[in-house]
């Protein structure tokens, strides 16, 4: 057994050239082959790659989809995001657990099926959803969940569970998924017609500097959320010293409530790959990597095929469009379930086969990124926009949107609305207009930009979607008036605690302290000074955390304090000086009372 593991593991390492930087691919394949990356396998990988076992272990234990202990032959990952809760997660989870005879996190006695839960898998518009290995199942009900489990027990083949396929390329033989696109509104940029090669052809006419000029004139800002001007980023990478450059596409759409990149990857693959090639041309002597989140693995064969087809048509690979010395190729790097890898420096770490730890900035990736080379990291949508900008010209693009945020934005709308799905709208649209488009009759609050931003109430619904007002990477979650906003805040605080990489103390420890404080208040044990304390602690975490995760993690709580402050202040009361309500002397002495056989005289 041990030898067999070593042999197969060794073969997998060889397949990736015993390359230390391809660790992610290696451990993912070992995991797929054995249902875990056992200590023996780690030993073998370390030997083959010429590194230390602890290096391998640090990777395996970092990512949610990798495990040291064996998991079931099939793993069910039930999505437990807040929208899934709203749509019946709890009933589905109970039904599944009961049918399997296990509790959440356990494997059936026969070792066949593991049931666990996972944060947002990018299916909020068709929640509750689950990943069964890499097969997505959507719109779950307790009855459907029970049926799925029964079927799965029979054949243990998740692919057989797909009896009806979704629209568009979801029905493509290489995808065959029940996922639906739910494209509700097509705008002029991303969902307009596009002839593959047209953007690249224009780029070659303009020359690299011309492309960068065009990008700057379009005033395209990164669509991932931070909104850094794309043209400036490309120029920095082009001007940075170094032989090789890298174009990284961030398809690690992990922000809860975001799923628009999933639809772009499915339906606008050419637009994306062309945008990356254009960036590669502008940067010069570059190679592309798409970092695809593990949750979207079901798209991997389809995307690989799309890359292959473009190679055949001379749009990827060597001598693109017949231009000598213009080589640009793309590989796909699969992630393994880590929210933090959506942060660009963590994404780079992960691509290099390391834990998804963020890095200190500066140096910024355009100067010192993947393997130390100048690197452009852009979101899927940003590259898609670039292709269209090249075809239609910067003035066309800059004329759309609001004055300081040009173009359109693809939004993922979910929650309490009748029409959840993907909307391409011009920047500058108001939150209220979105509520109307999505037919949310009773909207009481919204999370614009997902839990890393602060929740807003009706008094902010006239605000505009743009980087200067309501900034978003694409997530729009709508909650009706009956939803418990404090519960939502706590849910997302838990999410950030779980996803913190643990590197820096303010985030790792501070968030736990914040959770304790929130608990105390919600339990009715708080005083007004606790609310001030929560605010102080939140600001402290934001100020002292190293990366965007820690800097955003207190936002669910701060948002609730800021915009729904009376909800918290209604729970706290000024108390007479004395013991804290959370301290219970009778419980604290119970062991000693039993031991001594006498009662405390102070209780």
């Amino acid at each position: 057994m041990k030898q067999a593991t070593a042999k197969v593991t060794g073969e997998i390492c060889r397949k990736f050239g015993n390359d230390r930087t391809r660790m992610m691919d290696i451990v993912l394949e070992v995991q797929a082959r054995f249902g875990c990356v056992s200590p023996d396998a780690m030993e073998e990988i370390a030997r083959a790659l010429g590194t230390h076992r602890v290096e391998v272990e640090s990777v395996v234990t970092f990512y949610a989809f990798l495990s040291v202990k064996p998991q079931g032959r099939v793993v069910i990952r039930l999505c437990s995001d807040i929208v899934d809760w709203m749509k019946g997660y709890e009933e589905v989870a109970v039904a599944m657990a009961k049918e399997l005879g296990v509790t959440m996190g356990e494997t059936t006695a026969d070792g066949a099926i593991t049931l666990t839960r996972t944060p947002c898998i990018g299916m909020s518009d068709q929640a509750p959803a689950a990943l069964i290995d890499d097969v997505v199942v959507t719109h779950l009900t307790p009855d459907r969940a029970r049926q799925l489990v029964r079927d799965l027990r029979r054949h243990l083949d998740p692919h057989q569970l797909v009896t009806m396929v979704g629209d568009g390329n979801n029905a493509h033989p290489l995808v065959r998924s029940m996922v639906r696109n739910n494209i509700r509104h097509r705008g002029a940029v991303l969902f307009a017609d596009f002839v593959p090669g047209s953007g690249l052809r224009r780029a070659l006419e303009l020359g690299p500097e011309g492309v960068i000029r065009e990008m700057k004139e379009s005033r395209l800002r990164g669509r991932g959320g931070a909104g850094f001007p794309a043209g400036m980023k490309w120029e920095m990478a082009r001007n940075a010293p170094g032989e090789r450059r890298y174009i990284l596409c961030n398809a690690d759409e992990g922000e809860p409530g975001t799923f628009k990149d999933r639809v772009l990857l499915t339906e606008r693959t050419d637009l994306l790959l062309e945008g990356m090639a254009i960036a590669g041309y502008a940067a010069g002597n570059a190679t592309g990597i798409i970092y695809l989140r593990g949750e979207y693995r079901y798209l991997l064969p389809f995307l690989t095929n799309a890359i292959e087809q473009r190679r055949e048509r001379g749009l990827l690979g060597r001598n693109l469009l017949g231009r000598k010395d213009f080589n640009f190729d793309v590989r796909i790097q699969l992630g393994a379930g880590a929210y933090i890898c959506g942060e660009e420096t963590a994404l780079i770490s992960s691509c290099e086969g390391l834990r998804g730890d963020p890095r200190n900035r500066p140096p910024f990736p355009p100067q010192h990124g993947y393997l130390g080379c100048p690197t452009i990291v852009n979101n899927v949508e940003t590259f898609c926009c670039a292709s269209r900008i090249l075809v239609e010209g910067a003035p066309w693009f800059a004329a759309m949107g609001s004055s300081r945020t040009t173009g359109t934005k693809v939004l993922s709308i979910s929650g309490d609305c009748r029409k959840p799905g993907v909307y391409e709208v011009p920047f500058g649209i108001t939150a209220r207009e979105l509520i109307e488009m999505a037919e949310a009759d009773n909207a009481g609050s919204m999370l614009i930009g997902g839990p890393c931003r602060r929740m807003i109430g009706p008094e902010r619904f006239e605000g505009r979607i743009c980087y200067d007002d309501l900034a978003t990477g694409g997530a729009i979650m709508i909650f009706n008036r009956a939803r418990n906003k404090l519960e939502i805040a706590e849910h997302y605080l838990d999410f950030f605690i779980e996803e913190s990489c643990g590197h820096c103390t303010p985030c790792r420890v501070g968030l736990i302290l914040l959770k304790k404080a929130v608990h105390k208040v919600v339990a009715g044990a708080g005083e007004p000074s606790d609310l001030a304390g929560m605010r102080d602690l939140s600001n402290f975490i934001i100020r002292t955390s190293r990366c965007g995760l820690g800097q955003a993690a207190p936002n669910p709580v701060l948002g609730a304090l800021e915009n729904f402050g009376d909800l918290y202040s209604g729970l706290v009361t000024e108390r007479k000086p004395g013991l804290l309500p959370e301290f219970d002397l009778s419980k604290a002495v119970v062991d000693a009372e039993l031991r001594a056989g006498r009662q405390s005289k102070y209780v």
Partner: protein
């Protein structure tokens, strides 16, 4: 009662090291005597409060029921309560038992440890002995604490500055080398 501000101090589950550090303010104790009147404190050996106090200084955390009772009394009697030193703030040495069940702690201490001579095989249980808590609690987990002075023990200068600041209402700027322990 004089018009001077009243101060109370106590050592709960501490080693009196913090109180030694209070005494380390040396001749400034004369200045302090001009500023304040000591109420309940090991310094004058008053066993209970004589009146309401402006400042209460607490050394050590709570390891038994009596500590809790005393701390609660301090909270009720003092306008401002200060956790002095690492045991009050973090639990310190007494908190080392926090991951061990109480029964095991007692059995190890009184019955099983090498060198223990205890032919009766009993754990002390005089009614006068306060019952131990299931674990050591830092003071701020038992009552609200207004200020924290870290250190093991906190340097006399830090205590002096904090006291003067509290009594004169002036903010105290933390001094780097008094908060740096390596």
């Amino acid at each position: 009662m004089s018009s001077k501000a009243r101060i109370a101090t106590v050592s709960l589950a501490g080693c009196f090291g913090c109180h030694m550090s209070i005494l380390d303010i040396d001749q400034r104790i004369l200045q302090l005597a001009d500023l304040v009147e000591f109420d309940r404190s090991p310094i004058n050996d008053y066993k209970d409060f004589q009146g309401r106090c402006a400042v209460g200084i607490v050394e050590g955390g709570c390891c038994n029921e009596e500590n809790v009772h005393v701390l609660e009394r301090f909270r009720r009697q003092c306008d401002v309560l200060v956790s002095l030193g690492d045991c009050a703030i973090n639990g310190g040495i007494p908190a080392m038992r926090n991951n061990i069940p109480l029964r095991e702690c007692l059995e190890d201490a009184y019955l099983k440890s090498p060198g223990v001579y205890n032919p009766a095989g009993t754990v002390p249980n005089d009614p006068e002995l306060p019952l131990l808590l299931n674990r050591l609690y830092p003071c701020h987990e038992v009552v609200r604490i207004d200020h924290f002075i870290p250190g093991c023990p906190p340097p006399a200068d830090a205590i002096w500055d904090a006291l003067v600041g509290l009594l004169t209402g002036k903010p105290v700027a933390p001094v780097y080398n008094r908060l740096k322990y390596d």
